[in-house]
Subunit: 416 residues, 2 copies
């Protein structure tokens, strides 16, 4: 949580942090500013002191909404900076950073964060280091950075926002189910649009985007809506021209965020329209039983990867390949059981078999549970996913409930 | 254009380029791959050779759609890399980059590009430099980077995509105008929603997002829909709780991009609903006359900033402050006349008074023209903006036409 920032800086032996970039689609900056139309900003925080937010003059008003102390970049006269840098704009930026650090009495080890243009940030910070030999610029692996640690546990206000996104997400999923099951079906079991043409993945995705926008969500990462062989390839997002057909597995993985780049939700259901083939039904039953087993066994403060191991062991009993019995399997269970969700769609805690032991189900974490089985050559895949909150009292809350039906009955077809 | 890449690498004295990050919302990577669900990729291109795209194993299929040569990261055994790096994951990444560069026979000066997590990229590339003392990692100022130069001129296929976004944008603007002018009006001149409540900026913005999504656009940067005092502050996006009222200037600046993070369009109209105050009408007339004067005078191969100077001179005749007669003015004309538009909402050519002389209206550039006048203390502002293409034959094409009406007549109100 945000209140852990100073303590975590101490743990990581950092005297200060610098966060750069826009306030949206940039989790560390969003986390500390609350987002908004602030571009190319710099946040400097010395350990034990309040952060200071530097911004472009024109965006002063937007920046002030953060409630932070705001200083416009123009405080450092651009003409002087350019002159001192002899016209080298990268050096001029580095000199400005130097002044900003000096004015905040920052020295020692400085953590650097933010999603930004690397091609210009790299030379600027390289020059800054040359200008200030006394400082150390400390970068960290993305998945284990200071921000990943402090953002890992959520306060109730954050969970409320994620829960609200869960409500929007499941509302959209319900509308998609309603739309599909009301479609007319052609003789060859292809679904038809209102205009009589065959319904494509692209058609369904455009409706998903429409409904997400209507309900106040953004969809920056897109949606996985994959049928048949694509459903068997976990990272296939679906082929836009594919037709919707009965009796094929459809993996529908939807992960929108709040408009303006805030908190995400992550959710998956697998459907088979009209009827399911016996093979697909068997696969679904196996995934669902393992999904339930995980949910029943989640324990406060347990290492998250224990459940990934549990999923492997259970799937192995059914005869599937998993990362536990096969290096880098391409069919069977090919990913990990879940991950944290917040301002990043993937964040701590992680559950891969090689995740460090501090990825545990601490009170306040919000995680996904998403076991799945994939058989691209058989043209099928199944994944079931909910987003869960480990409550401060240690109980587990599913943040948005939605039925687990696999076969969706078609309204205008004699269902098998 | 893409075909200029090798020549520009030669001009910039680069032996190779590395582009890192996702394929979406990352213009250089999008430009070379065509976008898609490819995360944390690396593209390496030696001058005179075809690019090679490295990606995560699970995203091989998506990456292959780029048509580029694709190599999964797993070609470099992770266990070996970690062992060699003694468990330092940043160093392991640096060692993998080293192998990738060696395998592509890359040495010398290497340009680095991409929007990515700076906190992890900085230490990885710092370590890479230590591992390969023979290479030079060259960063460039964002606005004048190699990609900004090659993306500056568009081919017809790119212009078609921007034009299509223009059509979507102006369709949405038309729907907003239709919606507003059909609203009922309360006695105090506040517009009312269908449910009888007062219409807010937030209500209007949610409709804008809905219509953009319906028509296949994304709105990652948000929309400026600002009324009254906010209209007088160029970078205010509008206060969500502000009510829509008659007789106030509304600056509506809308800049969506293709779904999936592609090409942008940029467009502004200023409206006054029902009637305009004489002061606002005068301001509008002045902006419109200068807007027209720019359009009439645009010449092939002229420096873009000449038109910014023209705008300053014209506005000064009307008695306004401009950057030409006032350092950093806070009212009057406070920005520049326009900028290039493409995969970045702001790109070359630029038109600021200090822009370099090579920011010219070359054949193939797509630019905005957007003069404006701002008086926050008087509670008003006006900006008019179209996106234009400098055609190969030197003529200028407005990429999406839309009327320039200032006062929009209300259907259910006795207009003044």
């Amino acid at each position: 949580m945000k209140s852990d920032l100073d303590a975590r800086m101490q743990t990581n032996n950092l005297d200060a942090i610098i966060v750069i970039g826009n306030a949206t689609h940039n989790p560390p900056m969003y986390y500390l500013t609350g987002g908004g139309h602030i571009s190319g900003a710099t946040l400097i925080k010395k350990r034990g002191s309040d952060p200071v937010l530097y911004c472009n003059d024109m965006e002063r008003g937007e920046a002030a909404k953060s409630g932070l102390k705001v200083i416009p970049y123009s405080t450092y006269n651009n003409d002087f900076l350019f002159k001192e840098a002899q016209g080298d704009s990268l050096l001029a930026s580095a000199i400005r950073y130097k002044h900003m650090l000096i004015d905040n009495e920052v020295h020692g080890r400085i953590g650097i964060y933010g999603t930004t243009d690397f091609g210009s940030a790299y030379p600027i910070f390289s020059r800054l280091k040359d200008l200030m030999p006394g400082i150390e610029l400390v970068g960290e692996p993305h998945d284990n950075s200071l921000f990943m640690y402090i953002m890992e546990t959520k306060d109730e206000a954050e969970v409320d926002r994620i829960r609200r996104m869960g409500k929007i997400t499941t509302t959209v999923v319900g509308r998609v189910a309603g739309y599909l099951t009301n479609c007319q079906v052609r003789e060859d079991e292809v679904l038809l649009r209102e205009d009589g043409g065959p319904l494509t993945i692209a058609d369904v995705k455009s409706r998903i985007n429409l409904w997400l926008a209507e309900l106040g969500a953004e969809n920056p990462e897109g949606t996985i809506f994959a049928i048949g062989r694509d459903a068997g390839v976990p990272h296939s997002t679906g082929t836009p021209t594919d037709l919707l057909r009965l009796g094929q597995t459809i993996v529908f993985d939807i992960f929108p965020c709040e408009a303006g780049g805030g908190y995400y939700y992550d959710f998956t259901r697998t459907w088979s329209l009209g009827y399911a083939t016996p093979d697909a039904q068997k696969l679904y039953n196996e995934v669902k039983s393992v999904f339930d087993k995980v949910q029943e066994n989640l324990d406060l403060n347990a290492p998250f990867k224990n459940y990934n191991r549990l999923v492997c062991e259970e799937f192995e009993k059914y005869g599937h390949q998993t990362p536990l019995n096969t290096p880098a399997p391409v069919q069977g269970y090919v990913h990990s059981v879940g991950h944290g969700v917040g301002l990043n769609i993937h964040e701590r805690p992680f559950s891969g078999l090689t995740a460090t032991d501090d990825n545990i189900l601490k009170p306040g974490v919000v995680i996904t549970s998403e076991p799945g089985l994939y058989y691209p050559e058989k043209g099928m895949g199944v994944r079931i996913e909910d987003t869960l909150w480990v409550r401060p009292d240690g109980t587990i809350e599913v943040l948005a409930h939605y039925p687990y039906d696999f076969v969706l009955k078609m309204k205008n077809w004699k269902n098998g």
